[in-house]
């Protein structure tokens, strides 16, 4: 399969994630949107790694290690973000992202 197909899927994932971030009415879905974006990036890393070194070797590993780091980052981010969401829920009694608007002040 060509690189273009992978990039197309990654782009789709990115746009879907962005759309979820902007438009979903639930903070948890917003978080999932972030995960989708991260995964779109991961797909790009892996796809470009394979494209740069089709025979394998050290150069191919560099991109895949990046992907692993991003996964780790995503885990940490998810933990922190979920904590924030829980606090936001206890504070505002809602998980709808459009209702809290304290940032105005």
């Amino acid at each position: 399969m060509s690189l273009g197909a992978y990039l197309a899927v990654a782009t789709a994932l990115f746009v879907l994630g962005l759309a979820m971030m902007i438009a979903r009415r639930n903070l948890l879905y917003v978080l999932m949107g972030i995960e989708l974006i991260l995964n779109a990036a991961n797909l790009n890393f892996v796809a470009f790694a394979r494209y740069a070194a089709p025979a394998g070797g050290e150069a191919a590993l560099r991109g895949q290690v990046f992907a692993l780091i991003v996964i780790l980052l995503a885990v940490a981010e998810a933990a922190v973000a979920l904590a924030i969401v829980l606090h936001a829920y206890s504070l505002f009694d809602t998980v709808r992202p459009e209702e809290p608007d304290l940032l105005r002040e």
């Binding site: 962005l18 902007i22 917003v30 608007d101 940032l103």
Partner: protein
């Protein structure tokens, strides 16, 4: 004659004589009516203390018997501090005149207070009556002790105010309200003159103190070649005009008979101890400022008033009005006595008159209290019902009529002999007029006073109902009567004319009785004594003939002299004359002033106001539309911009993200497009 030694304690006691009633006035005014018995004991007690202190100091002077003494407590209180020519300080001048007056006024005022306890019992404004009476006493006591014209004038005005308040005590009666207004306004004419006279003296001599002014007069006369300069004559006459107002001399006598509208103790107060005596007192104090010509004027005013008021007194039927005109007449005697140079005689008469006139007024109050009318034709035969009142009033009547051995005989005799000396020395008709007037008036006095006694106490009761209900008054009323009656008998013996004689000595222009003058005086004294006994006896006999033995009928005589009788009975129509001239003129003036006020003054004020309003309207328009407009425009623009900017700050995370994405897309588009 030994000197009288006065120390600080004596002066402190003297200062307390007026100040204690003043303090009592404040206490009585503020809290008196809440106290037991509505606080009447506060002024009565204060006057008792003041009278005791005054008599104590007087007794001290009497024991030494030095009529020429004069002690001063200079500058006891600085009212306006500063250099000598612009300061005003109050102090005490204590000489034989103020000593006698302090004691007499204190005692009589105390007795009148005591009498009022009985007479005013149950009155609606009982508490404030005593407060005002007390302030009145303060005014007179302060006046006689003043050592300068300024505090003298202040006390003088306090009395003016109190007379207004007390004459108008029954202010719900229109006649009383009118009477108090009349008294205040009439005496005010004199007060203004007095003030002007004081002002002239102060402008020329730069002092208010009596002693300094007296010392200055001979100096002024010497500088002017022995004659009175014009300003001093003017000042003397103006000051005498003050006395004319206060002592109810013709032509300002009209207020005194109307003052009968006040309660009887007030009448006694005004007629005996205070107010009218103040004018005589002032004339004596200011005698030095009167030029020889002015003295003749004083004598003529006084003697004319004496005969004028005596004729009116004969025709009155109201018991208090008879007494009122008798006071006016007796004041004329005093003023005339001072005017002809017999200062001692005038003052002597003032003191004896204070005693018997207070007694007569309180006695008439006692009668009115018993029969509830003031009309003598409704009385008669009361001597059987009210023996104490009758006895004391009879004694006082004998005194005022000038029957030998009673107080009034000595003092009136002294005045008459002074006028005779005056007439003999100058030997002109003008100088003889006072003597003629006063001898006639003395006879009339005896007549109308016995008319009063006979109509009230003798004969058969003319109103049986009133007679049945008449009874002797309680002790608070009879005790003062008795004490005053005692002085009406003995007043002439306690201190004769000699006591006051020192006052006249050493005055420039005063006659020193030597040689021919002494001969005149001796001769005059004999004539005056037998003459006054003669006219008094004639008056009394005539009164008996008319009203006791009924030899003549008063009604028939009144009929025969119809027009004259009406003229006199209506007080010579002086009041009506004033009403038609002075009052109408004043009313006309006020109407003119009102017109001026309404059309000119108000017009000017309204014009200025209108201009101001127009200017304010223009300024307001500019302010509202231009200044406010600019400010509002700035505010409106800021608001508008704020509203736009606010749209971007929603506070929602997702919006921000969307804007971020849009920005990123935009930036990327630009980059790509550029590439």
């Amino acid at each position: 004659m030994a000197d009288i030694v006065f120390d600080g304690g004596d002066f402190a006691r003297l200062a307390a004589v007026p100040l204690i009633p003043l303090g009592a006035f404040f206490v009585q005014t503020l809290v008196g009516r809440f106290g037991p018995r509505k606080g009447d004991w506060i002024p009565v007690g204060a006057l008792a203390i003041a009278a005791a202190l005054g008599i104590f100091e007087f007794a001290k002077c009497l024991t030494v018997w030095n009529p020429g003494f004069r002690v001063e407590w200079k500058e006891a209180f600085d009212w306006i501090p500063g250099p000598a020519e612009s300061r005003a300080s109050f102090g005490i001048l204590y000489d034989n005149l103020s000593a006698t007056m302090t004691a007499a006024v204190g005692l009589i005022a105390f007795l009148i207070h005591l009498f009022s306890v009985g007479y005013m019992h149950g009155d609606r404004r009982y508490a404030s009556f005593f407060a005002h009476l007390c302030l009145f006493s303060f005014g007179m006591l302060g006046l006689v002790l003043s050592d300068n014209f300024l505090s003298f004038f202040a006390c003088w005005e306090v009395m003016g105010l109190c007379s207004y308040l007390l004459i108008g005590h029954f202010s719900e009666k229109p006649s009383a309200a009118a009477a108090c207004k009349k008294a205040f306004l009439t005496t005010r004419i004199g007060d203004v003159c007095l003030f002007l006279g004081i002002a002239i003296l102060w402008t020329r001599l730069h002092t208010f103190r009596f002693t300094e002014l007296w010392d200055a007069v001979p100096r002024v006369l010497a500088e002017n070649g022995g004659a009175y300069p014009g300003w001093l004559v003017t000042a003397g006459l103006l000051i005498f005009a003050g006395a004319v107002g206060k002592s109810a001399q013709f032509p300002l006598h009209v207020w005194l008979p109307d003052a009968m509208e006040g309660p009887t103790p007030v009448s006694a107060m005004i007629h005996a101890a205070t107010m009218v005596a103040a004018g005589v007192f002032l004339t004596a104090r200011a005698f030095l400022f009167l030029s020889p010509e002015a003295r003749i004027a004083v004598a003529l005013v006084g003697s004319f008033t004496a005969i004028f008021a005596a004729t009116i007194g004969i025709c009155q039927t109201d018991i208090k009005r008879v007494l009122a005109y008798s006071t006016v007449s007796q004041l004329g005697f005093m003023i005339a006595g001072i005017g002809v140079g017999g200062i001692a005689a005038g003052l002597f008469h003032m003191v004896t008159h204070a005693a018997f006139k207070a007694c007569l007024f309180l006695g008439s109050g006692s009668v009115i209290h018993a029969v509830h009318t003031q009309e003598m034709p409704q009385m008669g035969g009361l001597r059987r019902r009210m023996p104490i009142t009758y006895g004391t009033m009879l004694v006082s009547t004998l005194a005022i009529a000038g029957v030998p051995l009673f107080a009034g005989f000595y003092s009136k005799d002294a005045i008459l002999s002074s006028t005779l000396v005056h007439a003999m020395e100058h030997g002109s008709i003008l100088h003889a007029l006072p003597a003629i007037f006063l001898f006639t008036a003395a006879g009339m006095t005896a007549f109308y006073m016995f008319r009063l006694i006979l109509l009230t106490f003798h004969g058969e009761p003319r109103d049986a109902h009133k007679f049945e209900h008449a009874h002797e008054s309680p002790w608070v009323m009879t005790v003062p009567l008795t004490i005053l009656g005692f002085f009406a008998v003995t007043g002439g013996w306690i201190f004769g004319e000699n006591w006051f004689l020192e006052l006249g000595k050493g005055l420039p222009g005063m006659v020193v009785a030597e040689g021919e003058a002494a001969h005149h005086e001796h001769e005059a004294h004999g004539i005056a004594m037998w003459g006054s006994i003669g006219v008094a006896g004639a008056g009394i006999l005539l009164a008996f003939a008319f009203y006791q033995w009924r030899k003549f009928s008063a009604a028939a005589w009144a009929e025969r002299w119809g027009p004259v009788h009406r003229w006199v009975k209506n007080k010579y129509y002086v009041d009506e004359f004033y009403l038609a001239t002075v009052v109408r003129f004043v009313m006309f003036l006020t109407a003119v002033q009102r017109w001026f006020d309404v059309w000119i003054v108000d017009g000017l004020v309204n014009l200025v106001g209108g201009i101001g309003r127009a200017a304010a309207a223009v300024s307001g328009w500019f302010d509202r539309w231009v200044v406010d407009g600019a400010v509002n425009l700035v505010g409106w623009l800021t608001q508008l911009w704020g509203g736009v900017a606010r749209l971007f700050q929603t506070g929602r995370v997702q919006t921000y993200v969307a804007w971020g994405v849009a920005g990123a897309v935009g930036a990327a588009s630009v980059v790509l497009w550029m590439a």
